[in-house]
Point group: C2
């Protein structure tokens, strides 16, 4: 049966293959392969000729075919729980920068939603044999997901959180939180509330817990009391910050003069809601967050800055270096953070 027929029967795409180029250039496919990939062992003239023909024919190598032949997909996976939240979208941009520069593709796996309540599936099958390396963005993982992760034998690093047995990159959450809390204490605050992000499911996600611990220990070290009724919970979103403020102010009894929020989005929610309630920031209430969200500067939010894009970029670089043969390129690293004092913190009202 004619080859042409075969092709169309198989739904074959109309692409020109390496063989077409070889034929048109009067050389073998091996030579074309070397030529188009810029490998040595091709005479300048032949190479020029081949490149010209390839260009004219609009030849693009099939990634499936070369992936099959080499065992590499030139694609890195990025696993994220959300894409439209600050930390993640910035991290994705960072990863993309590095990948793009090194001619790799980025395959995005969005887990969509938190924890076990919302349906979400991540299994080895999803990513295995489709990517050469995996960048995991900070998130709560179920034991099951964790298990799948361990079973994937490709280079892996996690950014912004700890996963047992994996290299991770992120800020020193304890130090960052402690800095924020001390800033409030140094300003003279004694009545400080906490807006943390621990969702208390037993998922693997210790970032919130570390931030809570830092708050409690710094308060204690300063000889200040922490009140359980000023311990509010949020899920790192703006809305949860608004709700936390409302709960805090709806409750009878004394009010804090400052609040430490585990993320800028929550902090901004607090500020917005305080404004609505007629509570002045920072005159009546000081607010500090963590992140340095894009909106933080415009709002004048005091915060502890971090750069998720750079963290992801670094993680990606390690992964790619590892793939390129640099053994040990992947390792844990601590990213910098920095207190930025703006206009939402001030001494407490006297």
């Amino acid at each position: 049966m004619a080859r042409i027929t075969e092709r169309s029967q198989r739904g074959g795409h109309s692409g020109v293959s390496i063989e077409d180029v070889a034929a048109a250039a009067g050389v073998s496919t091996a030579t074309v392969s070397r030529a188009v990939r810029g490998l040595p062992r091709v005479s300048p003239l032949t190479r020029a000729k081949i490149l010209e023909v390839a260009e004219a024919l609009g030849y693009v190598a099939s990634s499936s075919a070369s992936g099959l032949a080499t065992g590499r997909t030139r694609t890195m996976g990025v696993l994220a729980p959300f894409v439209s939240r600050w930390f993640f979208s910035k991290a994705i941009e960072g990863a993309d920068r590095e990948l793009h520069a090194r001619q790799y593709n980025l395959s995005l796996f969005n887990l969509g939603g938190h924890g076990s309540n919302r349906e979400r599936l991540f299994s080895k099958t999803m990513v295995y044999k489709q990517i050469d390396a995996l960048l995991v963005l900070c998130m709560a993982l179920t034991p099951d997901e964790l298990d799948h992760l361990q079973k994937i034998d490709i280079p892996l690093v996690v950014v912004g959180g700890h996963v047992e047995g994996c290299a991770y990159i992120g800020i020193d959450d304890y130090a960052a939180s402690a800095t924020a809390v001390r800033h409030l204490i140094d300003l003279g605050h004694r009545d400080i509330a906490l807006l943390h992000g621990d969702d208390e499911t037993d998922l693997n996600f210790d970032v919130p817990r570390v931030r809570i611990r830092a708050f409690k220990e710094v308060m204690e070290a300063a000889g200040l009391p922490t009140r359980p009724e000023w311990d509010e919970w949020g899920d790192f979103t703006l809305r949860s910050g608004q709700e936390a403020f409302r709960r805090l102010w709806a409750r009878p009894g004394p009010k804090p003069t400052a609040i430490f929020c585990a993320s800028d989005e929550m902090a901004m929610g607090v500020v917005f809601e305080a404004n609505r309630a007629g509570v002045r920031v920072p005159e009546d209430l000081s607010v500090v967050g963590i992140d340095d969200h894009d909106f933080a500067d415009a709002m004048g939010l005091t915060t502890v800055a971090q750069r998720p894009d750079e963290q992801a970029e670094l993680g990606t670089r390690m992964l790619l270096d590892e793939l390129n043969g640099t053994a040990g390129a992947v390792h844990s690293a601590v990213a910098p953070h920095q207190l930025i004092v703006r206009r939402t913190t001030a001494p407490p009202p006297s």
Copy 2:
């Protein structure tokens, strides 16, 4: 030469192949292939046996191999100019939802940056033969990029903008803008400024221009003057909104009582900066945007809402349907928009 040696020489990954499963299950690879893909013509018993063996061995099909055999990658490309801006991150989430549900992968191509000043490369090569379809997110394309786009003979739809000769999905920008402007006029405003987003490079991006035209025509129809000095430019970001406000208020002469912004981010920038400058919103200045950004509700921003995630989801669905044989599944569609009146608009000061 032994097969094993071959494998390790070629850097072969240690994966279990279909042949291993076939051998372990005592059947042919053809049967395994049918079984794992849930195709008919496999007896229930054999299927069960095969699935069990496959599971035990941890078999996952190689996407390269099946891609090569079928001519399909089960991957859709998403081309975006940014990922951390509201419209795009939402759209990506929407596309991902649909893809995920249909077992497709999402390959993200971030053009990183606007126009020709920042280096950015998008060529046919980047995406060709790596994806089965392409979703282009609203952006300014260079003539060169446009050219490459046309040459890719795979299903394609653009979301949030028009590209000549391509199916597109998005709101009716003219109607949406007109609605916003009329809202201001209905409130009694006569002195309305415009914060548009046209960058005046000659890139293919008419969304800003349509919004400008709507503004001018609605003003004219209402018999209201538009003043060139109240025509401000921005790049859709928060910062550019802040800067526009400052320029507007720094200029001598009368001030507008309202401002129509081509995006929520810019509108929020205006609100923040007005607050800092002591200009009260909405008492002194009404502000309206377009988008219904995540922060719009918390800020009380009046806006014309749109849902980029749903637009992208629809586009993705069309693309996938087309790939599944539904000819004509891909076509242009108008997405809904809706005025949401909140607290940044009010009658002008009397």
